[in-house]
Amino acid sequence: MPLPPAQLERMEYLLGKSQHTSLTLKEQDELRRYVVAEQPGAKDATFETVVTLGLIIVGAYLLYKFIESTSAA
C-alpha cells in the first residue's frame, strides 16, 4: 500500500467528514490526491467516484489489517 499510515488516516477523516458535511475544494483535491496515489485511473473521475473508491480503499486496508492480525495471532 503506497499511502503511509498518516495519509491513510487523513483520508479516512476526509471520507468520514464527507458523509456529514460537504468538503471544501481544497479538501476535495486532497482526497482526490490520496485516491489517485492508490488508483491512478481515478485522476479524471467525478468526486462521487473518488469518494466511493476511497471508501473501498479504506475498507480493503481494514480487511488487510484484520487478516494480518488474525494470522499473526
Partner: protein
C-alpha cells in the same frame, strides 16, 4: 376508158393470192413464235426447278443448322440448370453452416454473459461489504478526531 374484164379478174386473183400468201406467212410466223415460247417456257421451267431445288437444299441446310444450334442451346441450358442446382445446394449448406455457427456463438455468448453476471454480482457484493467497512472506519476516525478537537 373501159377496163377490160380480164384485167379485173387478173387483179382480183393477184389480190387473193397476195392475201393468202400473207395469211400463210403470218401463220408460219405464229407457229415459229409459239415454238420459241414453248422452248423458252421449258428452259424457264428447268431453271425454276433448279432454283427451287437449290432453295430447298439451302432451307434444309438452314433447318439442320438451326436444329444443331437448338440442340447446343438445350445442352447449355441443361448445364446451366445443373450448375444452378449445384450452387443452390452449396448455398443451402452454407446457410445451414452459418446458422449453426451463429447458434453456437449465441450459446457461448449467453454462457459468457451468465458467468459475467455472476462475477459482477460477486464483485458488487464484495465492493459493498468493503465499502461499508470503509464507511464505518472513516466515520469512526472522523468522530474520534471531532471528539479530540
Amino acid at each position: 376508158m373501159v377496163i377490160p374484164d380480164e384485167w379485173v379478174g387478173t387483179f382480183l386473183a393477184g389480190l387473193i393470192v397476195l392475201v393468202l400468201g400473207q395469211a400463210i406467212l403470218s401463220y408460219q410466223a405464229f407457229c415459229n413464235h409459239k415454238e420459241e415460247v414453248r422452248k423458252l417456257i421449258g428452259e424457264n421451267k428447268e431453271e425454276a426447278r433448279n432454283l427451287v431445288e437449290a432453295k430447298t437444299d439451302d432451307i434444309a441446310r438452314s433447318i439442320d443448322t438451326w436444329n444443331i444450334k437448338n440442340e447446343n442451346c438445350s445442352i447449355r441450358i441443361d448445364t446451366i440448370y445443373a450448375r444452378l442446382e449445384s450452387f443452390e445446394g452449396k448455398q443451402e449448406r452454407a446457410n445451414t453452416d452459418i446458422w449453426n455457427q451463429t447458434d453456437q456463438m449465441e450459446r457461448r455468448l449467453q454462457d459468457g454473459l451468465s458467468l459475467l453476471k455472476e462475477n459482477i454480482l460477486v464483485l458488487q457484493t464484495t465492493v459493498e461489504i468493503v465499502k461499508i467497512a470503509g464507511l464505518s472506519k472513516s466515520d469512526d476516525t472522523y468522530q474520534k478526531q471531532q471528539r479530540d478537537e
